[in-house]
């Protein structure tokens, strides 16, 4: 068992965002540089490690809906702003749930908006682990333009998953736009297939959103449930 998972299991919780991203990194899946800060003082000199502007998010096993808890701040431009944001996030989180165990705040650079996609994994009672792919935003929420496959998948399955959604044309580039990096998406699907196989303790994964660019992609937010 992976030590990150072992630790979370011992503490009877799912993976923290920082842990999920660490695991993704081990599979060479691109995630924005991040740091977990545990006190306001750690903000001093942060700009040397993480490129501003940044995103700050609460890290707590007891807070799942971070936005509802006022636990997300974006577009923070300076260390001074970061200190204020830090205080606000902690204050709001305690107001939201005073019992909540707060492990710190994750900070990572704001990355330029790419085409949003989502990838997920869940376990079906009859087929076992399945993987999902779709374009983010309204495409998944309203149009349910998503594709599934039973894991593990092979390269051709990944190709089909990407090309069978209606929004595929958007990835290929519409109205003279450059195509998005479809190879990178394929590679990510295959890596999540492998990650799931290697770590059977993970029951559900949400990578949402993922930004895809003309070259490369970044997994902006990640959840893994044990």
């Amino acid at each position: 068992m992976h030590q990150i998972i072992e630790k979370a299991k011992k503490e009877k919780r799912s993976l923290l965002e920082t842990e999920a991203k660490e695991l993704l990194r081990e599979y060479e899946i691109p995630v924005p540089d991040f740091k977990l800060i545990k006190s306001e003082d750690e903000i001093i000199g942060l700009a040397k490690e993480i490129n501003f502007p940044i995103v700050m998010k609460i890290v707590s096993p007891d807070i799942i809906h971070k936005t509802d808890a006022g636990g997300v701040k974006i577009g923070i431009k300076t260390e001074k702003e970061a200190r204020i944001a830090y205080q606000e996030i902690i204050f709001e989180a305690k107001k939201y749930n005073k019992e909540a165990k707060i492990l710190g705040i994750i900070v990572y650079p704001m990355i330029p908006q790419g085409t949003e996609i989502i990838i997920g994994m869940m376990k079906d009672p009859h087929f076992g682990p399945v993987i999902m792919f779709g374009l983010g935003g309204i495409f998944v929420e309203i149009l349910k333009d998503i594709s599934f496959r039973i894991l593990p998948i092979e390269e051709r399955d990944a190709e089909e998953m990407i090309s069978e959604i209606k929004g595929y044309k958007i990835l290929k580039g519409i109205r003279g736009e450059e195509p998005k990096d479809i190879e990178a998406i394929k590679d990510l699907l295959l890596k999540i297939s492998q990650l799931t196989l290697d770590n059977p303790e993970i029951n559900e994964i949400d990578l949402n959103p993922i930004f895809v660019f003309n070259k490369g992609l970044q997994v902006v937010d990640a959840r893994m449930i044990l």
Binding site: M122, D124, K144, F148, I150, E154, E204, I205, D206
Partner: protein
């Protein structure tokens, strides 16, 4: 595997059921006798007496039986199974109901355990029986299937019966019919595995409500589709959100979407319902593969050809124009007013000779042909059917027919059938069949490349 073989090719069969007129046993014995089963038939019931000139045995004793059909009340089944098991009968079909389908899981488990102990295989319980037209085995209460090359496996007995009736109307035959009911032992997976090597079966058709062992099914189907096509109806499209999940992904994954994905991954052709299943099976029996997606449409009538072309294109198939070269060849063989584009509209010249000539000529550039014919006063549809039939043997690409309609072309359709050309009431239905066959072809080519 011997026990699976015994299900379909038994040398003798015992039927445990009520033999009173109209009762299950009576109907099965009648089906077996009328169907001309060549092995021994042993009706067994305490009443004794005779049925269709055969002795009814009051007890099983030590009859030499390779298949037992059971339709007695549930509470007597366990002891009968123990008896049969100790006497070496290995293959059992239990038609009787009243098990897990009504919540009686305990008794179903019990019969499963007895089967395991004696190494018996069980189909059912709560099923409509099995058939093998290859040896006139009609161990079922349903209407006898005509001989054919499609094996039909159904989870629902009632639907199975209805399909057999519909097939009879259509003149559509089956190699095997299996209603597997509650699937306490023999499952779709075992049946597909057996049918994969069954020489009488060219196409496997499934009606599924739910799978028990999704992953095993997937692995088996992936292997089988390389040898023969699998067509499936999956009922129950709206059970979304039944599982407890906390992720976004979980909330989006309806059961139907998962089945759809699994079928795609395995190369199983999913159809919407019974009608489409028949259509597709009729096509696949003759044409398990189509090498590409360029379709040539030959017609003697504009309207139906346009509808067909629209549908083909909507489904992602191509209806390309012929090359200049081909146009020149066609110019030489066709009357001056005939269109040289695709669809090839032969107008009033659309006699047998032209249908055959154009089919042959364009076969070099297209992957399949749809021949549309609407009878006119001066043209004999049977002659056209014969001409197409003969040319089919010469050219290497599939010909599908859309002779329309009704009694006007009844005889011509029979003639087409003789040559193995499937006819569809509309060109749109032709198009749907072609699209699915093309899909299967690209899938298995892909599988083969990867293996």
């Amino acid at each position: 595997m011997k026990s699976m073989e015994n299900f379909f090719n038994p040398h003798s069969i015992a039927i445990f059921a009520s033999m009173k007129e109209g009762k299950t046993g009576y109907e099965i014995v009648k089906n077996m006798v009328d169907g001309g089963f060549k092995g021994e038939i042993y009706p067994i019931n305490r009443s004794g007496g005779e049925i269709f000139g055969r002795k009814i045995y009051p007890e099983f004793n030590n009859l030499d039986v390779s298949l037992a059909i059971i339709a007695i009340p549930g509470q007597f089944i366990s002891s009968l199974l123990e008896d049969l098991g100790s006497k070496g009968v290995k293959s059992i079909v239990i038609i009787s109901a009243g098990f897990s389908e009504v919540g009686n899981i305990k008794e179903e488990k019990e019969i499963k355990n007895i089967a395991k102990k004696h190494q018996m295989r069980i189909i059912g319980p709560n099923c409509a029986g099995i058939m093998n037209t290859g040896c006139n085995l009609f161990a079922s209460i349903e209407v006898r299937a005509l001989p054919g090359e499609t094996a039909f496996i159904t989870q629902s007995g009632a639907l199975g019966g209805a399909v057999l009736m519909m097939a009879e109307e259509l003149g559509f035959g089956f190699s095997k019919f299996v209603s597997y009911g509650n699937r306490c032992d023999v499952s779709e997976v075992d049946l597909i595995k057996y049918l994969e090597d069954d020489p009488q079966t060219k196409v496997i058709a499934l009606y599924i409500e739910g799978l028990e062992e999704g992953r095993r099914f997937l692995a088996q189907a992936k292997k089988t589709v390389l040898k023969k096509p699998i067509v499936a109806i999956k009922a129950g499209k709206s059970k979304a959100g039944m599982r407890a999940t906390s992720s976004h992904t979980g909330s989006l994954a309806g059961e139907d979407k998962i089945y759809d994905a699994a079928f795609k991954q395995a190369g199983i052709l999913r159809v919407e319902g019974v009608e489409e299943m028949f259509d597709l099976c009729r096509g696949l029996i003759h044409y398990p593969k189509i090498k590409g997606d360029k379709i040539g449409v030959i017609t003697n009538s504009g309207g139906p050809a346009v509808l067909t072309t629209d549908k083909l294109e909507e489904l992602g198939l191509e209806v390309p124009e012929p090359s200049e070269n081909l146009k020149n060849v066609l110019k030489k063989i066709l009357p001056p007013h005939v269109s040289l584009g695709n669809p090839f509209d032969l107008l009033a010249y659309g006699g047998a000779e032209y249908f055959a000539r154009v089919s042959k000529t364009i076969s070099s550039e297209y992957d399949a042909i749809i021949a549309i014919f609407v009878p006119t006063a001066s043209m004999d549809s049977v002659e056209i059917a014969t001409a197409l039939g003969k040319i089919k043997e010469e050219i290497k690409i599939p010909i599908f027919a859309n002779f329309m309609a009704g009694r006007l072309v009844k005889e011509a359709i029979r003639e087409l059938k003789k040559y193995g050309i499937p006819n569809y009431d509309t060109g749109e239905r032709c198009a749907r069949v072609i699209q699915k066959i093309a899909l299967r072809t690209s899938k298995i080519n892909n599988f083969n490349l990867c293996n």
